[in-house]
């Protein structure tokens, strides 16, 4: 019976439900991602972020929290200029993180051939 109500998705981050495959993949190939202290230097200097709604610091945080629903559309806004790496006081190679996210999304969607998915 339809009472006209729907349950809302909870706004809280459900840490127990998150799929760790992406973050594990990123940390395997770019362990510098571990040491971010959220200063926001990358986002302040970001070429794309000054033009469009794109927050690279927030994206890496959301990946760490397993919130990846909008990741595909978000990550394509990066212009790969690399200024985030130049400014980072902790030496996080964010450009490589972006490249790895793109690669992993392509592998998962079957667009990129890897040793594992070549049949």
């Amino acid at each position: 019976m339809d009472f006209g109500y729907t349950t809302l998705e909870t706004r809280s981050i459900d840490y127990d439900k998150f799929d760790r495959k992406l973050i594990e993949y990123l940390l395997q190939y770019e362990p510098s991602l571990l040491v971010c202290m959220a200063c926001g230097g990358c986002t302040a200097t970001c070429s794309a972020g000054n033009l469009v709604d794109f927050n690279i610091r927030r994206i890496q945080l959301m990946v760490k929290r397993g919130e990846t629903d909008t990741l595909k559309a978000e990550i394509d806004k990066c212009m790969l200029c690399g200024k985030c790496m130049l400014i980072c006081p902790r030496g996080v190679n964010l450009r490589n993180v972006v490249m790895l996210i793109k690669k992993k999304l392509s592998i998962d969607s079957g667009q990129l051939a890897t040793k594992n998915n070549i049949k």
Binding site: M37, A38, G40, G41, C42, T43, A44, N50, R57, P89
Partner: protein, 338 residues
Amino acid sequence: MKNIVIIGGGIAGVETACALAEGGNHVTIIERDDKLGGKLNQWYCLFPDFKKSTQVLDYIKNRIKNFDIELKLKSTVEKVEPNGDGYFIHTGNVRYAADAVVLAVGYDLFDATRKEELGYKIYDNVFTQADIEAKFRSGDLNTTFGKAPERIAIVHCVGSRDEKCHNMYCSKVCCVTGVKQAIEIAKFLPKTEIFCFYMDLRMYDKHFEELYRSAQEHHNIQFIRGRVSEVSATPDQRLSIKTEDTLSGRPMKMKLDMIILLAGMEAKKNTRQVARLFDVETEESGFLRSQDFHLGAGILSRKGIFAAGACISPMSIKETIENARSTAMQVNQYLKTL
């Protein structure tokens, strides 16, 4: 009577010297400058109670008068030789016999020109906290164009917690220095808007947190959590900064009249050289390495060589005085074993 040579006549050196002379030792201070007090001479007042730095300077100047301490100003150590259980310290044509040596060579402020993107010595009205202390002393807080600043940014963590300048450590006293200076400016220029750009506010010691609260409550200082990534000049002779307001998650721009860079404390440029001369170890950061972090602070890696003050790590004036007294105690204990 034992002979002790102290290298450096800043707050740490003089306090250690007095404490050791009090115990009946013959103490010599070798100081490079032509006066005592070191970096404190450049400061106007101290956190968290706004005590005038001259009060601390007067304290050490009066204290040293009570003892027969030999002062060797405008001198540097050229050679160190072993001499039985102690050392011979050569400076110029004088040789001092020392049963123990205390290194109190102090610190340098991070050279803010190394962070080119922050515009120090490139644009007008970008200062360091040391420049501002000099402005406080002269009583002139105007911009270089002779106007009262309408808006000021205080930038935390310049040259500390920053891999790009090889300073991984937190210089710890800059946060509270920034808050102190913000309040001083607000008292002096009540109409000026003041912003602190921070990553983390480390109000670690007694009364620091209260000072932070007071800055918000009584002086309307605004705190924005984001590291300033770039400073540039605007056509109308103002300054513009870029940061991320990380708490709202959006990039932020702001026009300002003055920027104060809180440059971190670094090991002195010649600390490594001094360490080599005395054959003691330094840490990766360049500060002197104590034998044990918990139990042996100030006891260095070579017998009879000790350290006091900010050549061990960044520290406040209060901590420097405490540290100097504790080092003096350890030197006294060591001298009893000889």
